[in-house]
């Protein structure tokens, strides 16, 4: 099952529950991903990213002293960030709208709701590799384009309020 592309992938798992972290590592190993780094919170994860090259991050939301949202914000916005385009999957048992929106606005690439299954984890990974997201820099935001869908009934030419400045009619 393991292809060479899997063997080249380097994943960082950020999770304060060591049982969950270990399970995710074993799941990644099962598909042939050999290089899996682990960190117990966002601050430790930033240290890992400064030392190890990673292609993808799977991060928990609720951690101390730095949670998954603040970690994502640091990766996206900090001038010291090693790779602001790094795909970040936020794995969370918190499903309230306000938390999901805060994570999205921090620049999370994908969400994965706990409890996880092999199918749900692998589906998120597939989503990330097969459909890399466009990034947007706008005001205080830098991160993946937050619009995922084209409105079916929208036939107009503008998608952003300032698009009309560019449109040649």
């Amino acid at each position: 099952m393991s292809g060479s592309a899997f063997e080249m992938l380097r994943v960082l798992v950020v999770e304060d529950n060591h049982h969950m972290s270990s399970l995710i590592r074993t799941l990644l190993n099962s598909i042939g991903i050999r290089e899996v780094h682990e960190a117990g919170n966002g601050a430790a994860a930033l240290d890992v990213l400064r030392e190890k090259r990673c292609d993808l991050v799977l991060s928990d939301l609720a951690m101390k002293p730095m949670d998954g949202i603040e970690f994502t914000r640091e990766v996206r916005m900090s001038p010291r960030s090693v790779n602001p385009f790094l795909p970040i999957v936020l794995i969370t048992g918190y499903t309230e709208r306000c938390r999901v929106e805060a994570a999205r606005d921090a620049g999370v690439t994908e969400f994965l709701a706990k409890p996880i299954t092999a199918q749900s984890l692998f589906a998120r990974l597939a989503e990330i590799v097969e459909r890399p997201r466009a990034f947007v820099r706008c005001g205080a935001y830098f991160g993946p384009d937050r619009r995922r869908k084209q409105a079916e009934n929208y036939a107009g030419p503008w998608r952003r309020h300032d698009d009309h400045n560019d449109l040649q009619v």
């Binding site: 292809g3 385009f85 409890p115 299954t117 589906a123 990974l125 466009a134």
Partner: protein
């Protein structure tokens, strides 16, 4: 307002080539990979259940501190079902929803509701027969209790309720 700059995927470094991405994606979505992953989770079941029970002990110790109780309940909700403790996860889910709804209403939890949930979570996590009918009954009864208590609380907080 500053104009948004859109950076398409081809304009920044990708983790792999498009052909590798297609290959990997096919493998990740294959029934073989999913079955192997499910076996990994099943094999880890005993360790994971021990982990859940650690959280349950911390949850029991946290009674009286609603902030920590809520955090531990969320940990259990996110973890128990993966560990094969479905009823434990469902009861924790009910407690999490109770805390989440009360946070929206800016209201304090009823200590008895919290204690009943914590006690049921502990019993379910240590039960020999996880999928017993008794667990299903407990989950339903506690869900009914939460609905009733939330209705009472909402009646006392009509302004926030209307949002």
């Amino acid at each position: 307002m500053k104009k948004a700059q859109v950076i398409p995927p081809d304009s920044y470094p990708q983790m792999m080539s498009k052909s590798d991405a297609a290959k990997i994606s096919r493998i990740l979505r294959s029934s073989e990979a999913v079955a192997k992953g499910a076996r990994v989770i099943k094999d880890a079941g005993q360790k994971l259940r021990a982990g859940v029970r650690e959280y349950v002990r911390e949850l029991e110790d946290a009674i009286g501190d609603h902030q920590i109780t809520s955090e531990k309940a969320h940990d259990i909700r996110g973890f128990a079902e993966t560990a094969g403790l479905r009823a434990t996860g469902r009861i924790a889910d009910g407690l999490c929803r109770y805390f989440e709804e009360l946070e929206k209403l800016d209201a304090a939890p009823d200590g008895a509701v919290v204690t009943l949930h914590v006690s049921a979570i502990a019993r379910a996590a240590h039960a020999e027969e996880e999928s017993s009918r008794m667990n299903d009954v407990v989950v339903k009864e506690l869900a009914a209790l939460v609905s009733h208590k939330l209705a009472e609380t909402k009646a006392l907080h009509p302004r926030k309720n209307s949002n």
